[in-house]
C-alpha cells in the first residue's frame, strides 16, 4: 500500500535552486504569483515565462519529470483554452466550423489564460519539488516570526507542522502493517459494495486511532521529560542564514520585476 502512495513531491538534488534559502524561494514565488495577474501584453508575459523557464532549468530536474507531475492540470489548461474559443467573441472571425465562428480575440485570450495558468502551477510546484516540507516549515516560522509580537503562536504552529511531517511516514508504515494484519484475517475493503467497504474499514481505523492517541501521549511525555516549555529561549537545530547567492538571486529577481513593470502597457 505504501508503495503506491507518494507523500510530497520533493526531488533531492544540489542545484542552485535547491540550495537557495527557502525563505527567499517562498517570497519570490509569492510575488511572482501575484505579478502574473498584472501581465497584460506579450512582452510582459515573455519576461515572466523566461524567468519561470530559467528557474525550471536551474533546478536540474528533468523537464519531462516536472511535466509529468503537472499531468492532472493539463486537462484543465486545455479545457480553459477550448472554453475561451467558445465563449470569447472579440476580434475578427478566423474560421467557421459548422456555423460556429472562432474569433482571433478568442485564440489570444485562450492562450493568455492558459499560459498564466501554466506559469502559476509551474512556479508553485518548483517550490515543493526543490524544498523539503520541513525547510518550508522552518522558512514559514522565520517569515512569520514578527507575528509573535501580537501573541500569534508562530512557534507552536511550526512545531506542530514539523511533528506532523515527521509522523506521516511513521503512520503510513503503521497503516500498512495493520491493513496487512487485517487482510490476513479476511478483511477486504477494496472490493464489494460501498456499504461493505465502509464496514470493513472500521477494523483498520480503530487500531490506527488508538495507536495515534498512544503515540501522542508518549511523545508529549518525552517532551516534558526533556523540559519542553514553549518557544521562549529555545535554540534551533536547523538554522537559516542568507548567503551571497541568495542576495544575488534577489537582485536578479528585482531586475526582472523592473523590466516587467516597464514592459506593461
Amino acid at each position: 500500500m505504501s508503495n503506491s502512495v507518494i507523500i510530497g513531491q520533493y526531488v533531492p538534488g544540489h542545484s542552485p535552486i535547491h540550495r537557495l534559502d527557502p525563505r527567499m524561494k517562498i517570497a519570490i514565488i509569492f510575488i511572482f504569483v501575484i505579478v502574473i495577474f498584472l501581465a497584460n501584453n506579450w512582452v510582459s508575459y515573455s519576461i515572466l515565462t523566461a524567468f519561470a523557464l530559467l528557474s525550471t532549468i536551474s533546478t536540474r530536474i528533468a523537464p519531462s519529470f516536472i511535466l509529468k507531475g503537472l499531468k492532472p492540470v493539463w486537462f484543465l489548461i486545455i479545457f480553459t483554452f477550448i472554453l475561451h474559443l467558445v465563449v470569447t467573441k472579440e476580434g475578427d472571425v478566423l474560421i467557421s466550423v459548422l456555423n460556429f465562428d472562432i474569433y482571433s480575440g478568442a485564440i489570444w485570450k485562450g492562450l493568455e489564460i492558459s499560459l498564466r495558468f501554466f506559469l502559476l502551477i509551474l512556479m508553485t510546484s518548483l517550490l515543493t519539488l526543490t524544498t523539503t516540507p520541513i525547510s518550508i516549515t522552518d522558512a514559514i516560522e522565520s517569515l512569520f516570526h514578527p507575528l509573535n509580537k501580537i501573541r500569534f503562536p508562530v512557534h507552536e504552529l511550526a512545531l506542530m507542522m514539523s511533528i506532523s511531517l515527521r509522523f506521516i511516514p511513521t503512520l503510513m508504515q503503521e497503516t500498512d502493517k495493520i491493513s496487512k494484519a487485517q487482510a490476513s484475517r479476511g478483511v477486504d475493503f477494496r472490493t464489494g459494495p460501498i456499504k461493505e467497504r465502509i464496514k470493513a474499514v472500521v477494523p483498520l481505523l480503530v487500531p490506527l486511532f488508538v495507536s495515534a492517541f498512544k503515540r501522542a501521549e508518549e511523545l508529549a511525555m518525552a517532551m516534558e521529560a526533556r523540559g519542553y516549555n514553549g518557544g521562549e529561549g529555545r535554540t534551533k537545530f536547523r538554522e537559516l542564514k542568507l548567503k551571497k547567492a541568495d542576495l544575488f538571486v534577489l537582485i536578479f529577481f528585482i531586475l526582472v520585476l523592473i523590466g516587467f513593470w516597464i514592459s506593461r502597457s
Partner: protein, 195 residues
C-alpha cells in the same frame, strides 16, 4: 490548561493532522479519484473531527488549519492565490467548528447517553462539512471567474463541490458513529476541568 495537557494538546493535534493527510491519501478506495480538479470523496476530515470533539473548538480549528497547511506543503492544487487560500486554509480550518458541540458529545459519552452524542456528532459533522463546502464553493467561483468567466460558474461550483462534499460528510458521520464507541472511553470523558 496546565502545561502538561498543553503539550499533549499540541502533540496530539499535530499527529492527528498527519493522520488526516494519510487518510486523505488512502481514500481512493471509496470512489476512486473521480474529481479531476482537486477535491474528492475523502475521509481525511475524520481525525480533524475527532480532535474537534475531544478538545473542543480550539482543537478542531487548529488541526483543520494544520491539515490544510500540510496539503499545501505536500503539493496542493492552487490555481489562484485567493482560491488557494480559501480552499486550503479557510475550508479545512472551518471543519473544526464541529468542536462547538464537543461538550454535548462528551457529556453523552460520559453518561452513556447513546442518542445524545450521536445527534451532536451528526450536527457537528454536518456543520463542519457544510462550512467547508461553502469555502470550496466560493473558491470554485473565484477560480472559474478568473480563468473562464463563464456564466454558469455558480451552478458548476455547486455541483462539483457539493457532490464530493455530501458524500465525504456522509461517510464521516457513518464512520464516526461506528468508531467512537470502539475507542477507549478515556479519550472522550468530559475533561472540562483540565482544559
Amino acid at each position: 490548561m496546565t502545561n502538561q495537557s498543553k503539550v499533549l494538546f499540541l502533540v496530539e493535534v499535530a499527529i492527528f493532522s498527519a493522520f488526516a493527510i494519510l487518510l486523505d491519501e488512502l481514500s481512493g478506495f471509496l470512489t476512486g479519484r473521480f474529481w479531476p480538479q482537486g477535491g474528492s470523496v475523502s475521509i481525511g476530515m475524520l481525525p480533524v473531527l475527532i480532535m474537534a470533539f475531544r478538545w473542543g473548538l480550539k482543537g478542531g480549528l487548529l488541526s483543520g488549519l494544520l491539515f490544510g497547511g500540510l496539503q499545501i506543503l505536500l503539493g496542493a492544487s492552487i490555481y489562484h492565490p485567493v482560491q488557494g487560500f480559501i480552499d486550503y486554509f479557510f475550508a479545512f480550518t472551518l471543519v473544526g467548528v464541529a468542536g462547538i458541540f464537543a461538550k454535548q458529545v462528551k457529556d453523552g459519552i460520559t453518561n452513556g447517553n447513546g442518542t445524545k452524542w450521536i445527534i451532536y456528532v451528526i450536527l457537528g459533522t454536518i456543520l463542519g462539512g457544510f462550512l467547508r463546502f461553502l469555502c470550496h464553493f466560493i473558491a470554485g467561483i473565484v477560480f472559474f471567474a478568473s480563468f473562464a468567466g463563464d456564466q454558469n460558474v455558480v451552478i458548476y461550483s455547486l455541483v462539483y463541490n457539493g457532490g464530493y462534499m455530501t458524500l465525504s460528510t456522509l461517510f464521516c458521520i457513518i464512520l464516526l458513529i461506528l468508531l467512537i464507541p470502539a475507542l477507549p472511553k478515556k479519550y472522550f470523558f468530559a475533561m472540562t476541568a483540565r482544559t
